[in-house]
């Protein structure tokens, strides 16, 4: 309508209307001042025409009515004839006018669109200029044009050759409403973006060089057709938006001019409502988007200062209200508005986010590991080959040296980066936006809830509106988001699998080229063992192992010398001598066997009798006592001694004797007799023992030891378990801690000195040597 000379009287109205179109910004400003309901309209809002509330629209239609009124009301006022005929005639005349206008404007509009598409959109599309986003700029203008053309043809079809009484315009609109809404929705949705894009393009010389000629040619055509001059690209872009808003208005006017009996009346009413709905829903869509943008932008570009400045009473109270409300919901399970679809989508969204993040991390780690492992393994292969091939062969093979690994890994990494990691990281960077909005949605939901409870009508409505807008937007777009994210994730995983497969294939081929026909594996051990045997037979190895044994033995010898006391053992005569010489109070008995640890210490066997000469050592310590064994005098730790009780000792003697007898019966070796029996330890025993160990065979040691001095040998064979030991098989012997055992042999059948054949309580078995100690005071 704005592009075409309206016939006659409507001239004035059109002008006013054009003015009205230029005024949305003005409205916005006005509303910002007056409308307290909407707080903080998006700053720099250039979205324009569609962003008009209901009040704007009513205002608009009033204007339209004004425009219509001169012809509609004029005659009725001038000639107030009661005849309905006349009124009908007037209405029909008005109706015919409006229909004519509708068709005419539609034709102009379609024409405009066609010109635009032909002269601007197509050439620009064909040019394929990289930085010029034609799709974004013109969106789906082609479809808009098609819809318009279709509408025009339908309108013409409905009017030409049809009696005015039978013209049904409403049907046409109802018919086309569906696709129309869809297409305009997209266009309007994109429009503000296109607008800002256009503004940014206009600043750039280079792009304007492309846009300019198209616009010029368009203007030329307009001049030729003697139409109002085309202002600029922006007015071109906004036309569909304006047109869409005009449909309901025109239809309303048409409805009002249609007599109630006219067949078109009902259809028109429906069409009018439908189109209003469509406009409203498109408007709502835009509002949602703006809301979303508002909250999304909220935190991003703000400095701390901005945030602080925003921290006013209002926002604080709002926040605290939210917190308390949240707590209420948590604690009392207060009823709240729920949206299951949203909850489902949100859960999906969150798990997607987590998955993508984890996947990214793990895959990069894996890549790292692969990059570490593969070349490293290959390097080892090369090294081993160097060691295993003759120098002359090496020459030959180094030519075909497998250089595949570094390239391979490099390729793999690059591909992985491109096909998996890059898309995933790009995807990951898109998650925070929706997250923020989801948070905001919760806030709004809380607001809504709290208002609901306090039943504050007006505020509740607003909160509800905001919440619902945000929610609807999120539900809708999260679905799309989740779908797309899932596809990308799955693609990434598939690519990962494929890349691994390729990598493995390449690696396999790489290795296969090194060694085309491998030998059978079974012979490997044998071959190597043979060679090792040969090597072992080399003299230097043999000699060395001999010296090893020697050293080992000498070490043992030294140890045994240390542990073997060369002190003669107490005999019965010594004991009686002691008993007669010292008083009973001065007599003590060794509780346990004790070995000399320092100079002037003496060794005692369990049960040996000593007379205490002095209850302290030369340094004054009372823990070591000077004692007389009847043979020598020396120091002993007092803790090893107990007062001598003749009766008890006697009984113990007999008991052990009995025990010993049993042992004598069942065991082949000569058992150890307790100290009270006064076994005399002979120095030869220990010496012979150590000399036998020099000869290197333990069996011999044992036999020789027992030959020389049975008792001594027995003494040598008494050990105590330092730790408990649990037998793992029949061949082993379980030990209690501190348990006394006889060692039958100081090695096992194969000569391993770690395991000794021990005997305790009539059972025989092997025990680990390092579990045994000569003394029990450990």
């Amino acid at each position: 309508m704005e592009s075409k000379d309206p016939p006659g009287k409507e001239n004035l109205g059109t002008k006013r209307k054009n003015l009205a179109f230029l005024r949305p910004r003005l409205y916005m400003l006005e509303r910002r001042k007056t409308d307290t309901v909407v707080e903080g309209v998006v700053p720099g809002d250039h979205s324009g025409v569609l962003r008009r509330s209901q009040s704007d629209r009513t205002e608009y239609s009033q204007k339209l009515q004004e425009k219509m009124s001169p012809q509609a009301n004029g005659p009725t006022a001038a000639s107030p004839t009661p005849e309905e005929e006349l009124q009908m005639g007037q209405m029909m005349a008005k109706r015919a006018k409006i229909i004519k206008e509708l068709i005419q404007t539609e034709r102009d509009y379609a024409n405009d669109l066609e010109l635009c598409v032909r002269e601007v959109v197509q050439p620009l599309r064909n040019k394929q200029i990289e930085r010029l986003d034609v799709d974004c700029l013109f969106s789906n203008m082609e479809s808009v044009h098609q819809v318009s053309a279709k509408l025009l043809s339908l309108l013409e079809e409905a009017t030409t050759n049809v009696e005015p009484d039978m013209q049904v315009i409403g049907e046409v609109f109802l018919q086309i409403k569906g696709p129309m809404e869809e297409i305009y929705k997209i266009y309007c949705y994109q429009h503000d973006k296109a607008q800002s894009l256009l503004e940014s393009y206009e600043k750039e010389e280079e792009l304007m060089q492309h846009l300019g000629p198209c616009l010029q040619s368009l203007k030329k055509i307009y001049m030729q057709e003697a139409r109002p001059a085309l202002l600029d690209m922006g007015s071109l872009l906004i036309k569909p938006v304006q047109r869409l808003l005009k449909y309901p208005l025109l239809l309303c006017a048409l409805r009002r001019a249609t007599p109630p009996a006219h067949p078109d009346r009902r259809a028109l009413e429906e069409a009018c409502a439908a189109l209003r709905d469509a406009a409203a829903s498109i408007n709502e869509l835009k509002r949602r988007k703006e809301l979303v943008l508002k909250y999304k932008k909220n935190d991003e570009d703000e400095s701390l200062k901005d945030k602080l400045s925003k921290l006013n009473i209002h926002s604080i109270s709002k926040k605290s209200k939210r917190v308390t409300n949240h707590l209420k919901i948590l604690t009392r399970g207060e009823s709240q508005v729920k949206d299951n679809t949203f909850n489902k989508e949100e859960k999906l969204f969150r798990s997607l986010e987590k998955t993508v993040r984890q996947c990214m991390k793990n895959i990069s780690f894996c890549l790292q590991d692969i990059q570490d492992a593969l070349p490293f393994a290959l390097q080892r292969v090369t090294e081993l080959r160097e060691m295993s091939q003759h120098p002359d062969q090496e020459e030959r093979s180094s030519a075909e040296n497998p250089r595949f690994a570094p390239d391979l890994c490099h390729d793999f990494a690059a591909q992985l980066q491109r096909r998996v990691l890059n898309p995933l990281s790009a995807l990951l960077s898109l998650f925070p936006g929706p997250q923020k909005l989801i948070q905001k949605r919760y806030d709004k939901l809380l607001d809504y809830n709290s208002y609901l409870q306090r039943s504050e009508r007006a505020e509740s409505d607003l909160a509800k509106k905001e919440y619902e807008a945000l929610n609807a937007q999120l539900v809708e777009e999260l679905q799309a988001f989740n779908q797309a994210a899932r596809t990308i994730l799955i693609n990434g995983l598939c690519s990962f699998g494929g890349l691994l497969r390729d990598l493995m294939l390449a690696a396999q081929q790489g290795y296969a080229t090194i060694l085309p026909v491998p030998r059978l594996v079974s012979s490997l051990g044998e071959i190597q063992n043979q060679i090792l045997v040969k090597v072992q037979n080399l003299n230097f190895v043999k000699e060395n192992s001999a010296t090893f044994i020697e050293r080992k033995l000498s070490f043992e010898k030294k140890k045994s010398i240390q542990t073997q006391p060369e002190v003669p053992r107490q005999t019965e005569t010594h004991r009686s001598h002691l008993l007669s010489t010292y008083s009973a109070e001065g007599l003590y008995q060794a509780k346990r066997k004790c070995n000399a640890t320092q100079e002037h210490d003496i060794d005692l066997l369990e049960g040996e009798l000593v007379a205490v000469v002095e209850q302290k050592d030369p340094l004054g310590s009372t823990s070591r006592w000077l004692v007389d064994t009847g043979i020598v005098k020396g120091y002993v730790y007092s803790s090893f001694l107990k007062p001598y009780n003749p009766a008890k000792a006697q009984r113990a003697d007999t008991e052990t004797r009995l025990c010993d007898d049993d042992f004598d019966d069942i065991s082949f070796f000569v058992s150890w007799r307790p100290g009270s029996d006064s076994v005399s330890g002979t120095p030869e025993g220990s010496i012979s023992d150590s000399s036998s160990s020099l000869s290197g065979t333990c069996g011999k040691c044992e036999t020789k030891g027992s030959d020389v001095d049975g008792f001594q040998e027995v003494d040598e064979q008494i050990f105590y378990a330092v730790h408990a030991f649990q037998a793992r098989s029949n061949y082993e012997l379980s030990l209690q801690e501190y348990q006394r055992v006889h060692i039958l042999r100081f090695c096992d059948l194969s000569g391993n000195k770690e395991w000794w054949l021990a005997e305790a309580h009539g059972q025989k078995g092997y025990v680990p040597a390092n579990y045994l100690g000569k003394m029990t005071y450990a």
Partner: protein, 253 residues
């Protein structure tokens, strides 16, 4: 004997010929290098197998984390896919373990056993050195007496010194000869010794990688019902990403 270094005309008697000493040094040097190599390779082989294991472990972690994700509960298709992936990863891990065991058995262990010979060699070389020193010392003693005036006690001492020298000299010569003879043999044995290890290593790798190729080949077939090519997938990703960016809830402007 002389305090003037490099005095000509009275060179210190070379008890071991230079060529012999050089040969010995050369052979021993080669073996020392070999010992070094063996040790290093043994260590690196271990590191390498560890790295291999780390690789398959991290691969398993990918799929495990995916499996434990709540996403799987909501999406059956995804669950199937992840399960397939997990299966492949676990099989990879198992095969990898097997490979590592194989390498341990056929490469690292033999390396270790071979390496265990070197201490004996070093000991033998040390003994030779010891013997050489004894030899030198006694030789010097003998020479000292030889230079002295031939009086009775001196002659007696000379005789005694010669008597002492003889077994030591023999000992050294025997040791020297033995080492010179045996070191090259030992060195030579490495070729035949390591060749099977090498082959086994390669075989293990080839077997492992061909198995892996099979596993992942199966996996990709399983995952790609539509049979997307990588390029298609890339394009799809791009499309989806721009689709996402166009959403108002993510629009990054």
């Amino acid at each position: 004997m002389s305090w003037i270094p490099f005095k000509i005309g009275q060179p210190k008697k070379q008890i071991v010929p230079k060529t012999v000493e050089r040969d010995f040094e050369r052979e021993y040097g080669k073996l020392q290098q070999l010992e070094e190599q063996t040790k290093r390779l043994q260590k690196d082989m271990k590191k390498s197998t560890d790295a291999d294991l780390a690789m398959s472990k991290s691969a398993v972690k990918i799929s495990l984390d995916l499996l434990s994700n709540p996403l799987c509960e909501q999406d059956q298709d995804f669950l199937n896919m992840v399960t397939a992936l997990d299966m492949a990863m676990k099989r990879m891990d198992a095969f990898n373990q097997e490979k590592v065991n194989q390498i341990q058995k056929t490469v690292i262990e033999p390396l270790k056993r071979f390496g265990s010979v070197f201490p004996s060699l070093n000991m033998a070389v040390k003994r030779r050195e010891q013997a050489l020193q004894d030899y030198r010392r006694l030789q010097a003693k003998v020479e000292k007496y030889e230079e002295k005036e031939k009086t009775g006690p001196v002659l007696a001492k000379l005789h005694q010194a010669r008597e002492e020298l003889r077994p030591v000299q023999e000992d050294f010569e025997a040791k020297n000869k033995q080492l010179l003879d045996e070191m090259p043999r030992f060195y030579g044995s490495r070729l035949d010794y390591f060749q099977p290890s090498f082959e086994s290593l390669i075989r293990a790798q080839v077997v492992y990688y061909s198995e892996m190729h099979k596993i992942f080949g199966d996996l990709t077939q399983q995952l790609d019902q539509p049979g997307h090519s990588d390029e298609q997938r890339e394009r799809e990703n791009e499309a989806k990403l721009s689709e996402l960016r166009a959403l108002s809830i993510v629009a990054d402007d």
